[in-house]
Symmetry: C2
Subunit: 208 residues, 2 copies
Amino acid sequence: MQLNKKVKVEQGAEQKIIAAARRIFQRKGMAGARMEEIAAEAGINKALLHYYFRSKEKLFQVIMMEAKGQMLGRLHPILGSDAPLFEKIELFVESYISFVTENPFLPGFILHEINRHPEKLVNEISSGAKRPNLSKFFQQVETEIKKKNIIAIQPEQLFMNMLSMCVFPFVGRPMLQTVLNVTDKKFNQLLADRKKEIPVFIINSIKR
Amino acid sequence: MQLNKKVKVEQGAEQKIIAAARRIFQRKGMAGARMEEIAAEAGINKALLHYYFRSKEKLFQVIMMEAKGQMLGRLHPILGSDAPLFEKIELFVESYISFVTENPFLPGFILHEINRHPEKLVNEISSGAKRPNLSKFFQQVETEIKKKNIIAIQPEQLFMNMLSMCVFPFVGRPMLQTVLNVTDKKFNQLLADRKKEIPVFIINSIKR
DNA sequence: TGCACTATTAACCATTTGGTTAAACAATGC
DNA sequence: GCATTGTTTAACCAAATGGTTAATAGTGCA
């Protein structure tokens, strides 16, 4: 028989802290987050935060690294694959929207924090993980243009368009929802629809 | 002869404060901004901030109202006009990108602060200014669909796409620039190109 | 059982920070 | 000139906040 009081759902303190820090940091940002608040959210004492992660800055780095990794890490596997261009676009949009749906505060968090520190660029992405490489995707676009399968477009512009349409509605949700004057339910439906709508929109636009 | 030491460029203290607060708040957000810092940026004493604007919160409200007004105020004049749909799209994109080019931190600022306060929605936009009304634009889209001039698309999706492609590259610039691996100059060129590229992209996508 | 080691906490500390106050300073009217 | 009113500042204050410490509780193991 095991006497361990913390079984099943009861994750260790370290994990509880990370989960709490994720929630608080992502919503309020580094400057807006309070160590006390994170401790409370994790259901522990403030001193324990410093026991596991020495400082607010250190804890923040952990969350930020994780966030960057999640946000950028899915670019390469999809865009670097061998799938044909149109299929790749569909895959990318579906995957990215699914991810952001699960983590609606993540993009805004990263963007705000990066803007806050213009000095150190986004370098050392995810602590030296592979920098996302778009060359495969870019080559594919160039090839399809040469083959007259799609119209001439700068690959960079196409990529920006794709990413913008996937991510922005989540970052700008409160503003958009007000301007569009729709309910939560309706807006969620619109977001869900975009998994199918955006690929159609993009492919319509570029195919000859 | 006027003895007034503060002529020409020397705006009054109140204006200097607002200008400084705009810069600091937009870059660092409410929580990240320091009153002392704003005072220094304005070249005055911290106590003078409280003389003109009673509290940080009050000063912040001034900047936020102004920001919302600028961001949302330009929607209605363009989208509510009588211009034909395609022309309207061109006007909108050009106007919006020009504006965001001049105020690159403004969208991120608003979005972050709104996310930070989910309770009070974007209501009371610009202190009761006219809520942007998209109905004219939406009607136009419906009409063009009926006339078979454009393909079927939910007007809300079209609007989201437009706004996303205009705004996101500025909000997400640091991330995008890293991923695309381009210089400042090249990225600025890409952004400038978008004034023409986005309308083409959109119209290509929807026209029959 | 007792010892070493980890985990956890309450109380505390130093610094930062928004905000206040009283006094100096400048402009303006009489 | 001098009183009055508006502007600006240095010094100060109280609350908030990140971080520390010393003591306590729990755990494995010899």
